[in-house]
């Protein structure tokens, strides 16, 4: 599904290297988790994949279903099926959440040459999905993320994901800031989208989330590289021992 080869990234503005040769191969239908110390480059990886400005790719490649995504505009990547649940979702004053969602859904459909979703159908679908995530009608009407609590923002990201039905979902610390119940809701939301084909890259600091969303592979990222990959037990090891041993091992 997603093939990342030797991805090297630095800041556009200053000569600071952040990613130093990331290699990842995500097969369709699998759940991969990335863990790693603060500042190791996890969010940067997710931003570069979704096309945020300010970063320069100096080496390497990223292909989604064989297509070079680094050459695409952010909206084209979205239409091709890439989705990022932001670590820090952005507020857009004055723009209703529902309006935003509908514009997003129809923009993607248009880019893909598909017919738009009618207002009636959209409303039906969004209400059902919002209900599963315990997002009430009021939150759908309010401006995008404005005044939402931390947990509400994260649930709203999952709602967007559920509406857009992407092929490749990247979740950047969607679990941080969630209470126990909200974490379960989010995990249920993600699991409901697992269909054997959809692929997930879950960035997290905690084993907790991985109890609910069982990963197939766990990667450890440090200083802009994947330093170790393994099964779910790797996450437990981190949970118990921290990163010190791992860092030493690979140093």
């Amino acid at each position: 599904m997603l093939e990342i080869k030797n991805l090297c990234v630095q800041l556009e503005e200053e000569d600071k290297k952040i990613l130093r040769g990331v290699n990842l191969s995500l097969e369709a239908g699998k759940v991969h988790a990335i863990m790693g110390p603060n500042g190791s480059g996890k969010s940067t990886l997710s931003y570069v994949l979704s096309g945020k400005g300010g970063y320069e790719v100096t080496e390497g490649s990223a292909h989604l279903e064989g297509n070079d995504i680094l050459e695409m505009e952010p909206e084209e990547r979205a239409a091709a099926g890439l989705f990022l649940a932001f670590q820090y979702p952005v507020e857009i004053p004055g723009v209703g959440n529902m309006t935003f969602l509908r514009t997003a859904v129809n923009s993607q459909r248009k880019l893909r040459g598909e017919p738009e979703m009618s207002a009636g159908e959209f409303l039906k679908v969004v209400r059902a999905k919002a209900k599963d995530l315990k997002i009430d009608a009021d939150m759908l009407k309010r401006p995008v993320n404005v005044g939402f609590s931390g947990g509400e923002k994260k649930r709203n990201e999952i709602l967007q994901m559920a509406m857009l039905e992407p092929k490749m979902c990247i979740l950047d610390e969607t679990d941080s800031g969630l209470d126990v119940d909200a974490m379960k809701l989010v995990a249920q939301g993600v699991n409901a989208l697992r269909d054997g084909k959809r692929t997930f890259l879950v960035i997290t600091h905690y084993q907790r989330l991985l109890d609910h969303i069982k990963p197939d592979v766990v990667h450890i990222m440090a200083a802009g590289r994947i330093i170790k990959s393994g099964g779910p037990e790797l996450a437990l090891e981190v949970e118990n021992n921290g990163y010190a041993d791992l860092l030493e091992e690979t140093a």
Binding site: E73, L84, I92, G94, F100, A104, S107, L111, L164
Partner: protein
């Protein structure tokens, strides 16, 4: 233009983005109508003033009024306090009267109007046909009817639904017709809100105005439909000087819309209008403008110089006036729709979106002059600058000694797109009594890259993302517009910003 309520309330929606796509290609109304015109000789003189008056078959008193204004104008000098910069206007190098030849004989009804003119309005999307409705059948939902007065260069070519409005006692006609048919009303109110000597452009307008709209709503009448005037400048080198006078008698209500467009031309053209509103006891007037004059090209060539004096007199107790404007066009805009709150408990509101892109310059705002007791005013201004444009909010809130217990609230927000444009806020506040309160809030922000990226990562194109964020910024004002205009205004916001990113 019909749309359902829910979507408007939402501020901005998928249709906005739709509309933008459908209307891609910068200025949509830049085409010109090939039609045989009759011009007054170039330049300005007493003879020209007499000529305009005689073309309109005006009575003596009207000519005298114009001539007095003309003599007064000769003594005035052009103001230079606004934050706008444009080449000196040669008032002798333009035409002051241009009318389609076919309008020489006044058409008896809309059916007699030159098909070329009808075609022009059709192309602009302005309905000049009164939909034939069967007796007792309601208009389909969302298709509210709007009466239109269509002004083409110097003349009104027709006004729809006059007969039906007359049944309710509402007079809606061109100002030239009103001068002939309702002289008592015109003499009583014309020039009582904006005096002849008010300012340079207003005085010029008094001398040479050629047409415009007149509205009278009798006591206790709620005008049965929206009224609107659609101004089209077509002729080259011709100034348009229109005059609008709206009187809402006691306990009446009217909502009035104004739209304007012009062809794309290399040479700038002058538009100097005067609009006077009078609200008597318990009357309410809503006046909305979507100003979309040709803005000039991206290098600042051509476009309309829009120097307009708009003022409302809340003459009666508990009267209310609401100005809403979406200013997207014109090369230079100089415009301050104002309210004189004379009646006790009267209210004035001003909602404005001013967009300046490329080389456009906008200096706009309002004056709220509180004279009566317990008067209230509210100002919400949203200025958006892009390209190399300059956008100034200029406002005055004045509380006179007798305006006890009065209130004003002003919210003034500026949004910048890119780093070559400017936003300026110039609020003047005068409070001459100690029971009144004035609140002023102002913000300036930039369109946030993170917001744009967030939208794009969800599948929206860059310009759609800007349109969405900007429409969100303007939401409060868009909501103040009547439904008929809200859609158009949203689309316009998006179009005006085309090419402002990337």
């Amino acid at each position: 233009m019909a749309m359902d309520d829910v979507q408007v309330k939402d501020g901005v929606d998928a249709e906005t983005v739709e509309a933008v796509k459908a209307l891609s290609g910068a200025y949509k109304y830049g085409w010109n109508t090939e039609i045989e015109m009759e011009y007054a000789p170039k330049g300005l003189s007493e003879d020209i003033v007499r000529l305009i008056s005689s073309k309109n078959d005006e009575p003596e008193w009207m000519l005298d009024w114009r001539l007095a204004a003309y003599r007064r104008w000769l003594e005035l000098i052009e103001p230079d306090w606004a934050m706008v910069d444009y080449p000196k206007i040669d008032f002798q190098d333009q035409y002051y009267y241009a009318r389609p030849k076919s309008m020489e004989e006044k058409p008896k009804s809309l059916d007699d109007v030159d098909p070329k003119l009808l075609e022009t309005y059709k192309k602009l999307g302005i309905p000049l046909k009164e939909q034939a409705l069967l007796a007792g059948v309601e208009a389909p939902e969302g298709e509210r009817r709007v009466a239109v007065d269509a002004v083409f260069d110097s003349v009104s070519v027709g006004t729809t639904f006059q007969a039906e409005l007359m049944k309710a006692g509402v007079i809606f006609c061109s100002i030239s017709e009103a001068i002939r048919e309702h002289p008592e009303l015109v003499r009583k109110y014309l020039g009582t809100v904006v005096p002849v000597s008010d300012n340079y452009y207003a005085t010029l307008n008094c001398a040479v105005f050629s047409d415009g709209s007149f509205v009278y709503i009798p006591p206790g009448v709620r005008c049965p439909m929206e009224l609107s005037t659609y101004f089209r400048i077509n002729a080259e080198n011709t100034g348009q000087f229109e005059r609008t006078l709206i009187i809402a008698d006691k306990e009446s209500y009217v909502s009035y819309l104004e739209g304007c467009t012009a062809p794309q031309r290399d040479i700038a053209q002058l538009h100097a209008a005067v609009v006077e509103l009078i609200a008597l006891d318990d009357a309410e007037i809503k006046y909305s403008t979507v100003q979309n004059w040709y803005p000039g090209d991206e290098n600042g060539k051509g476009g309309i110089y829009n120097f307009v004096t708009k003022r409302a007199d809340c003459r009666g107790d508990r009267s209310k006036v609401m100005w809403t404007q979406v200013e997207t066009g014109s090369a230079v805009t100089w415009k301050y729709p104002s309210c004189v709150l004379r009646g006790n408990d009267s209210q004035g509101e001003f909602y404005s979106i001013a967009i300046a892109n490329n080389m456009q310059q906008a200096d706009t705002g309002t004056k709220m002059v509180h004279l009566g007791k317990n008067t209230k005013s509210r100002i919400v201004s949203k200025g958006i600058s892009a390209g190399k444009a300059q956008n100034t909010y200029r406002g005055l809130v004045s509380m006179h000694p007798k305006a006890k217990n009065s209130r004003n609230f002003t919210q003034c927000d500026s949004l910048l797109i890119g780093d070559k444009c400017g936003a300026h806020t110039v609020p003047y506040i005068e409070v001459k009594n100690n029971s009144s309160r004035v609140e002023h809030e102002a913000t300036t922000s930039k369109v946030d890259d993170d917001q744009l990226f967030y939208c794009r990562s969800r599948g929206m194109g860059e310009e759609d993302a800007v349109a969405l964020v900007v429409n969100g910024f303007c939401k409060e004002v868009l909501q103040a517009l009547p439904m008929e205009f809200a859609m158009e205004a949203q689309a316009l916001v998006a179009i005006s910003l085309e090419g402002s990113v990337g």
